[in-house]
Amino acid sequence: MRILSALLVGLVFGVGIAISGMINPAKVLNFFDIAGTWDPSLIFVMGGALLTTFIGYRLVLKRPGPIVEAEFKLPTNTVIDARLIGGSAVFGLGWGIAGFCPGAAVPALGSGRYEVLAFVAALLAGLWVAKMIQTKQADRRVTA
């Protein structure tokens, strides 16, 4: 059930990314290029996604719990710090360079283009290196 539902969630997400245009870096970069070949389509992606999630979450979270887990696991961290802002700024830099964000690049693998494979490989390397750095920092905090 857990695996089947995850497959379904991934599929709905992947179809959404594909038809929305998020899958296309040319379109994403044009969304950011306000001073040039601007394509405002992605505002509609955000609008559709936010509207659906805003309403859907309110309905789902009224239930006593999810189907395959004991309880809802919502983020509890509320700290706005340099790590959050700095990390997000670095993400924005990479997104502006390559035109792919993680959630768009994974479905784009289905297109079979080698550029997408290169992006995802580099993305995974970045994730791994950053996790290693975080683990080292956490270790240092424990021993200090």
Partner: protein
């Protein structure tokens, strides 16, 4: 100035957005967790219980199948145009991986799920990465002019 015009697609983009939102709602319904591509991927490559990896892998398979389903239904593969050089893609990908880990999320986790929960953290994160991405594209296309 390398920008090539892309077609304005408000209806398809809105419909795609609704599906992205629906997937987030479905994941909350089934597993009670936030739909974030960053979290899904990093849980797949770093340690954790083996059972935890199989549903993440299943989700990734579903995601990759997405455009293939669109191809099967419409006879057309969704367009993926990459207007940047391979070295820039690799550099961009690595930078994105570092950023989303320290920023605790990306467009799906902060930009959709976090904003829908009215999380101030996600609002700050989303505003930051959007503004920096716009600034980056401005500098690359209109200042450096590549």
């Amino acid at each position: 100035m390398t920008g090539v015009e892309t077609e304005f697609t408000p209806l398809m983009s809105f419909a795609g957005g609704v599906l992205i939102g629906l997937s987030a709602v479905l994941l909350m319904f089934f597993q009670g967790r936030i739909m974030g591509a960053t979290g899904i991927l990093s849980g797949l490559i770093t340690g954790g219980v083996p059972g935890d990896k199989s549903w993440r892998a299943a989700m990734v398979v579903g995601m990759i199948a997405g455009p293939l389903v669109v191809l099967a239904l419409t006879g057309q593969m969704p367009e993926v145009e990459v207007p940047i050089s391979l070295p820039m893609i690799v550099i961009g990908g690595f930078i994105v991986g570092i950023g989303v880990t320290f920023g605790s999320g990306c467009t799906s986790g902060h930009g959709v799920c976090g904003l829908a929960r009215l999380s101030p953290r996600s609002f700050v994160a989303t505003l930051t990465f959007m503004v920096v991405a716009i600034f980056t594209v401005y500098v690359i296309r209109h200042v450096i002019g590549v």
